[in-house]
Symmetry: C2
Subunit: 308 residues, 2 copies
């Protein structure tokens, strides 16, 4: 058996390290509850800081009389979306000045809506979502070329060295998180223009192609992420150009080389599922050439929506 045999499966385990931890060892985090609804998961290291420093904002609800697990609740006295947002924002800005949560060093001044079902409960800076284990959504565009000589090729971008998260790492041609006030397709169009200067006449060929979901944990916290994926076939003579300073290079790679690249440390871990999903949907990774095929497909779509 070749040493390469299990590497795709191992990569899927890497970006699902927290999903697999829950699956095999049970949950080591407590539900984060806002207005009676679970919206996230809080780990012990975060919990101890929040409860100690901000007892007027967070409380531990311990259900002594039942077998229910305790939860961390945002003070239910906060009346509405605005008050919850303001109270949380204030303490997050304070915490940002400390070194307690490295995730906050990636502060973006971009708000992320925290919802229960369809109802918005509050918004917080996108950098803070991993501290509270809130499900996060983003878009990824697979920009590809059917090259007459090289076959199926994928465009990739190298993230700027000055980016707060994953600086200098290779990534999908276009990607971005959903922020308050922007729709899914709208975010894809906006990021395509900003990150890669893709003109509208090419963007009209963009096709919604599904989503991937995975649950990753790093020193920055918990990432129960869902990425909406879009495929965009590009003409062979199109060269992407960055407009917003967040990309330092682009490269067009044959599918085989893309696959090799995601196994290196040069590729953003949380963008690997998007590339793998693309290579599966386009017949490059198949049940004939990949013995863990069904396990891999399942690990690209882990059940985040039924976690809470």
């Amino acid at each position: 058996m070749s040493p390469k045999h299990n590497r795709l499966f191992k990569l899927c385990q890497k970006f699902n390290n927290y999903y697999l931890k829950i699956l095999y060892n049970g949950l080591d985090a407590l539900p984060f509850v806002v207005e009676g609804q679970q919206v996230g998961l809080i780990k012990e290291n975060v919990r101890s800081v929040l409860l100690l420093k901000y007892p007027e904002v967070f409380c531990l609800r311990d259900f002594h009389d039942t077998k229910k697990q305790p939860v961390i609740e945002l003070n239910p006295a906060f009346r509405d979306y605005t008050e919850r947002t303001e109270q949380l924002d204030k303490i997050l800005r304070e915490l940002r000045e400390t070194n307690l949560f490295p995730a906050l060093q990636g502060w973006r001044e971009e708000y992320y809506d925290v919802k229960s079902d369809q109802k918005s409960l509050l918004k917080m800076d996108r950098s803070a979502t991993s501290i509270f284990g809130v499900r996060k959504y983003g878009i990824d565009i697979n920009g590809y070329v059917r090259h007459p000589k090289l076959g199926l090729c994928l465009w990739q971008q190298q993230r700027s060295n000055t980016k707060e998260t994953w600086p200098g790492k290779w990534d999908s041609l276009v990607s971005g998180g959903l922020s308050v006030g922007y729709g899914i397709f709208e975010t894809a169009m906006k990021e395509a223009a900003e990150e890669a200067s893709i003109p509208n006449n090419l963007l009209k060929n963009m096709i919604s192609a599904g989503s991937v979901s995975f649950f990753f944990e790093s020193e920055n916290g918990l990432f129960p992420n869902t990425e909406y994926v879009f495929d965009l076939e590009l003409p062979i003579d199109f060269i992407p150009q960055n407009s917003d300073g967040e990309v330092q290079a682009f490269e067009l790679l044959p599918a085989e080389e893309c696959l090799e690249k995601i196994f290196t440390n040069d590729f953003k871990t949380t963008s690997c599922p998007v590339v793998i999903d693309f290579l599966i949907r386009h017949g490059f990774i198949t049940p004939e050439n990949e013995s863990n095929f069904t396990k891999i497909v399942e690990l690209l779509h882990v059940p985040l929506q039924s976690l809470f």
Copy 2:
């Protein structure tokens, strides 16, 4: 909110009725163990018959001293693949003469390999796999046409009224279960020729496009099924023809009408996930037109591989 609002989500719940039962109520079946390895799940109604009628073949192992749940074990005295297969085959043929298990009325004389990881432990008739809750694998070919007037269209087949399972129901253009001795791609090629007379010059365009997994329960037992999906773009003038008597009609339908059809009782329930997955991958069902998009994508890829 339109009455159609949740129907796709409800359909995903329908073919995942057993997955959701486990998720929310816990498991109501015992592990089926062969040579120390779990290979399936056995429900109470099956268990009582097997243990009472065939105590020399099946035994209940109750771990009195631990918190482990009991398991149903195939007699470990059976030495090898051949002996296990013969012993099981004998009693299944006996049971087929009774009305105890309706699934056995669909007896096929087609063997299905029961494996643990990569090792084959025994084979049983394909009709019996649902009695033992053994994971089953099949192939589906989405035969589609890009019609100049009608847009994206899908070919569907109507199963023969004389088929043992789902007679008269509409289904993917080509589908079939994996049997002992046939590979995945090989099964797809074989079924494409038998069921729809697709010539090799068209089949060379067939693309592996992933897999769907779901866990359905019916009066015939448990169906933890994985379908390897293939996409095949067909020329507008190709008309499929059946060669094996298992299909009574073919029809080419625009995507919109396909979607309507899977909501009727005329469509084979366990083929719906394949159609939904196709319509998602090809940009017909999108996060913009389907509010349960991410839930649906997850319910098309439920984690069967980590069940046991």
